[in-house]
């Protein structure tokens, strides 16, 4: 097991190295001249050149890459081109907010989705099953800005929940909680159908297994058979998917964060792109990739830990 974890960590490092290179190349290929964005259209060639030297853009690409990577690893993520603020506290602060939103979404969404999936599976082919499937699909089919605005209409205007989720930069969880509800609910809708359908498929698959018959023929109550025997095995694939989607929730909620004006990583990314703020964009991208990779690793480790066939060898 330790060997397995070590190997996975080595792969993780390699993945990050490769993506950092990829991110660097892509940002270099982006059209537009940063200095022009910073200094404005009217500035002369001399000033542009000075700006280029200032930003180190006159160096050959590999030197710039290595400098950037080295600085990044040492914790010096540089300053934003557009606001001249230090990037690291900006990104980590937003990352904290994103983690808060992602965590809350999981907390609300996953139990609901799993429960719906189990209920649907146990009522396979009946009205309840079809109802859940259709409802879940309908919800996932709608774009987030539609469900988001819909929720604002209903919940924010009628129940008085804040429709604008812009929180203080350093807000704690409980301070932020009211502002989290609407965006989390919207994100849940995106997850819901996927996780519920996966759970349903998993439960149906396991219900066909011979060990379920063994458990029933012991004379165990139906509840015990489902909760103790079936779910333990049926949820394994679901758990993996949930862990991976956590990575997506951290940096992929661009639309939702914009609809609700929530200060997360996604919105910061939009900001960085519109301002041609390459160092900021690179930092956000790398953090996002790290989030994905860690979520993936967590998914695999969790799967191995929960599955004795992997955890305990022959």
């Amino acid at each position: 097991m330790t060997i397995y974890i070590l190997r996975r960590l080595a792969f993780l490092g390699l993945t990050l190295l490769l993506t950092s290179l990829l991110i660097f190349i892509i940002t270099q290929l982006l059209p537009g001249n940063v200095c022009r964005v910073i200094l404005g259209r009217e500035v002369g060639q001399a000033a542009l050149n000075a700006c280029r030297v200032d930003l180190g853009l006159d160096q050959p690409p590999y030197v710039r890459y290595l400098t950037w990577l080295g600085d990044f690893l040492r914790g010096d993520w540089g300053n934003s081109y557009s606001t001249d603020a230090e990037i690291r506290p900006l990104v980590t602060g937003r990352l904290g907010n994103s983690l808060m939103l992602a965590g809350f979404t999981m907390l609300v969404g996953v139990p609901v989705a799993v429960a719906l999936g189990v209920i649907a599976a146990l009522n396979e082919g009946r009205v309840l099953d079809n109802l859940i499937s259709v409802a879940a699909l309908a919800v996932v089919g709608l774009p987030e800005f539609v469900t988001g605005i819909f929720l604002i209409q209903i919940l924010a205007f009628r129940l008085g929940l804040p429709a604008n989720s812009s929180i203080r930069e350093s807000a704690g969880f409980f301070e932020a909680l009211p502002s989290l509800i609407l965006p989390a609910l919207t994100a849940t809708f995106v997850l819901l159908a996927y996780v519920a359908r996966l759970t349903r498929a998993g439960v149906l698959q396991e219900l066909k297994q011979a060990y379920v018959r063994t458990a029933e023929l012991k004379g165990l109550p139906r509840r015990t058979v489902i909760l103790k025997h079936v779910l333990r095995n049926a949820l394994l694939p679901t758990i993996t998917v949930v862990a991976i989607s956590f990575g997506w929730l951290i940096s992929g909620l661009v639309v939702i964060e914009n609809v609700f004006n929530y200060p997360g990583l996604g919105r910061l990314m939009v900001f960085a792109i519109t301002r041609r703020d390459l160092p900021l964009l690179q930092a956000i991208s790398l953090v996002a990739v790290l989030g994905f990779a860690l979520a993936n690793l967590a998914a695999d480790l969790l799967y191995a830990a929960l599955n004795p066939r992997i955890r305990v060898g022959q």
Binding site: I3, L6, R7, Q209, A210, Y211, R213, T214, A215, E216, L217, K218, G219, L220, P221, K228, H229, R232, N233, L306, N307, P308, R309, V312, Q314
Partner: protein
């Protein structure tokens, strides 16, 4: 005894399955009763309704099953009237089930002990009591290291160990009736023998009744007091085991008995007779005898009227119009076989020579092993095997799972890479890699696989599958090849119009015939058959074995037959090699394998096979312990860890010599032949009236 009230009484049970908008009868008016402490064997081919009956008794039929008629009375209660809660109570205390495949019947993510303790807690034990009791139960099914097994997850246990856990679970509630659905079919014979002993003992101790579903007539002969034969959802015959084997009254029972090779039965002396045709499709109308289309004794009335279930004696029941004539000996379904099969000529020339062949599968190395530069470890599937097969000769290789017999076959056809040794075909060295073998060479070595379902391309018609080796390997034109297809089909007795059918439209036996026709199409010098009949029903097995022998006689190919069933190998082979853990333990001419001296492993193997004959007395030699790992095979003699005749240090430290008897038997053992011969009895002692002679 006769006055004792039955524990289970099934009357006129009719069960149907709803498939689409049709209702198909799987059981038709079945009657069966079991007395307390009695073991009833339920036999029949796949599709006969055995499993449906077993699950109906448990009242655990699939949701689309419909009990249309009849009653199941168990311990004085009508099962069909019980509520779900009452049923659960019954399952806890009185009625237990042991399934076919223990590997899937245990929850993979729960420890074995907990799966037992969970049931015990239902009976009112506290968690501590339940834990202690579950270890006791595991000891009862003779698991030596019960505390460790209790802590293990199912995948850490061998198949035999898993099935012991299932039996412990079934016995945990001290049930009145055990329903067993092919509980040993997935196990090796030596393991099967231990499990059967265990069941017999446990049932006797607790006076438990058993309903034992199996296709294996040997197991029935050994274990059951009474036998019920199902055919197409109907009870064909039912009676005490000895009566039924001595004088079967239904032609189907006779057919089943004649389909299985006995230990020592040989193709040239007493050819097998299979049952022609196949089981009728589910839901066929029953206005006639269901067996008439396959019955050698069918007369006009059989096609016109469904026979009633008659009772020739108080103990027996049979559903056949002609049982009085059969009982009186006026007619018999046992017919003189029409085929004549011969053994190989002694002067034949060698086709295949294998010298010191070794096959292993390297294991991935861990980081520690990699850093410490430890030698790469491997599963040593085949270790120094040498053999010769002559043209027209059949070499049978018998061994249990893990013996390396399939790896050997795969190396010969080029599907696995041997890492040492040579293979010679007709005196020429055969390249080990498949892509180094020319097309012509490929056409010289062909193979029949175990599972015909997977051996034929489902998207090609049978005719296309047969023409392929002719075009690709023998270089014939498409037109020439097409012309030969009808002849190939005729040789395996398939109708010519089968050329246009797809494998999905064929039954299992027909598919295997097509696969055999394909293998023989290029007239190979060497034919490998890896378990060619083990996936087939017994009634079909006989015909396939005879077909192999006939085609071989015609083409004079060298045949390498691999099987776990020593009776099957003994029937077809001229020479038999017994394989254990990658090595040959014994070579014998087929005639002498059933007589001492044997290798101690052969002895154990022969005594483990239940002969399909309740009159045969058998020595009881049981192998202790588990098959050693092929990664670290034992030093010295590979069998020494389990050998009942273990001598001492010499077996552990030194490789045994090959000792040869006067009649050409070779034995790989430290024990001198004279001593083996002096101390070994013939494993099988035939009784006064073997069933085969009726």
């Amino acid at each position: 005894m006769a006055a004792q009230k039955p524990l289970l009484e099934i009357k006129d049970l009719t069960v149907s399955y709803r498939v689409g908008d049709r209702t198909l009868d799987a059981l038709q008016e079945v009657n069966l009763s079991i007395r307390p402490g009695q073991a009833v064997g339920l036999v029949g081919e796949s599709g006969s309704g055995k499993s449906t009956l077993a699950l109906a008794v448990m009242r655990y039929l699939p949701a689309n099953a419909l009990t249309r008629k009849g009653s199941i009375e168990f311990a004085g209660r009508e099962m069909l009237a019980l509520s779900q809660d009452e049923l659960r109570g019954l399952w806890r205390r009185e009625l237990a089930f042991v399934p076919q495949n223990p590997a899937t019947a245990l929850n993979p993510s729960m420890r074995a002990g907990e799966q037992l303790a969970e049931a015990l807690r239902l009976y009112g034990s506290t968690p501590e009591e339940a834990r202690a009791l579950s270890i006791d139960l595991l000891k009862q099914v003779r698991i030596a290291d019960a505390p460790r097994v209790a802590r293990d997850y199912p995948h850490q246990l061998s198949g035999g160990m898993q099935q012991r856990v299932m039996i412990a679970l079934a016995l945990s509630g001290r049930p009145k009736l055990l329903v067993l659905d092919e509980p040993t079919t997935a196990l090796d014979v030596t393991t099967e023998a231990v499990i059967l002993d265990l069941l017999r003992e446990a049932a006797a101790q607790q006076n438990t009744s058993m309903l034992y579903v199996t296709h294996n007539l040997g197991v029935v002969a050994k274990l059951s007091d009474r036998v019920a034969v199902l055919y197409a959802g109907e009870l064909a015959e039912d009676g005490p085991t000895q009566d039924l084997f001595r004088q079967p009254l239904h032609p189907y029972t006779r057919g089943l008995l004649d389909s299985v090779p006995r230990l020592g039965q040989r193709k040239d002396v007493k050819p097998l007779q299979g049952i022609e045709g196949a089981l009728p499709a589910l839901g066929a109308p029953i206005d006639a005898c269901v067996y008439a289309p396959r019955c050698p004794l069918a007369i006009e009335i059989c096609w016109q009227k469904r026979p009633a279930l008659d009772a020739p004696t108080a103990q027996r029941a049979v559903r056949c119009h002609r049982w009085p004539e059969i009982l009186a000996g006026e007619v018999s379904a046992n017919r003189e076989p029409t085929i004549r099969l011969k053994t190989a000529q002694r002067t034949a020339e060698p086709v295949l020579k294998v010298n010191n062949l070794e096959v292993d599968y390297p294991l991935p190395r861990s980081i520690n092993e990699f850093l410490s530069r430890a030698p790469r470890r491997a599963v040593q599937a085949v270790r120094t095997v040498s053999l010769v097969v002559n043209s027209g000769q059949t070499l049978g290789i018998v061994g249990e799972s893990g013996s390396g017999k399939t790896s050997l076959a795969r190396a010969l056809v080029g599907l696995a890479q041997p890492h040492a040794g040579q293979i010679e075909l007709l005196g020429l060295r055969l390249p080990v890699r498949l892509n180094q073998r020319s097309r012509e060479l490929l056409s010289h070595v062909q193979m029949v696989f175990q599972n015909p379902e997977e051996a034929l391309n489902p998207y090609l018609t049978v005719g296309e599958s047969l023409a392929r080796p002719l075009i690709r390997l023998s270089g014939q034109s498409a037109a020439e090849a097409r012309q030969r297809v009808p002849g190939l089909l005729a040789a395996v007795r398939l109708p010519a119009d089968y050329a246009g059918r797809y494998p999905g439209q064929l039954s299992g036996g027909e598919k295997q015939r097509a696969a055999i026709a394909r293998a023989f199409a290029s007239q190979p010098d060497l034919l490998l058959a890896d378990e060619p009949v083990s996936a087939l029903d017994v009634s079909v097995q006989a015909a396939i074995l005879n077909l192999l022998a006939e085609l071989q006689l015609e083409q004079q190919n060298a045949l390498l037959l691999i099987a776990h069933d020593i009776a099957v190998v003994g029937y077809l082979a001229d020479q038999i090699a017994v394989m254990y853990l990658g090595q040959f333990m014994q070579f014998s001419p087929a005639e002498t394998i059933f007589d001492p001296p044997y290798h101690p492993y052969t002895e154990a193997l022969l005594s483990a096979v239940p002969p399909p004959d309740p009159f045969v007395q058998q020595e009881q030699i049981r192998l202790e312990g588990e098959l050693p790992s092929a990664v670290d095979p034992p030093t010295g003699c590979p069998f020494h860890t389990r050998c009942p005749r273990f001598l001492g240090d010499i077996c552990v430290n030194e490789l045994p010599p090959w000792r040869e008897t006067k009649d050409g038997k070779r034995i790989f053992c430290h024990i001198p032949l004279e001593e083996l011969e002096r101390t070994q009895e013939p494993v099988l002692l035939f009784g006064a009236k073997p069933a085969g002679e009726l």
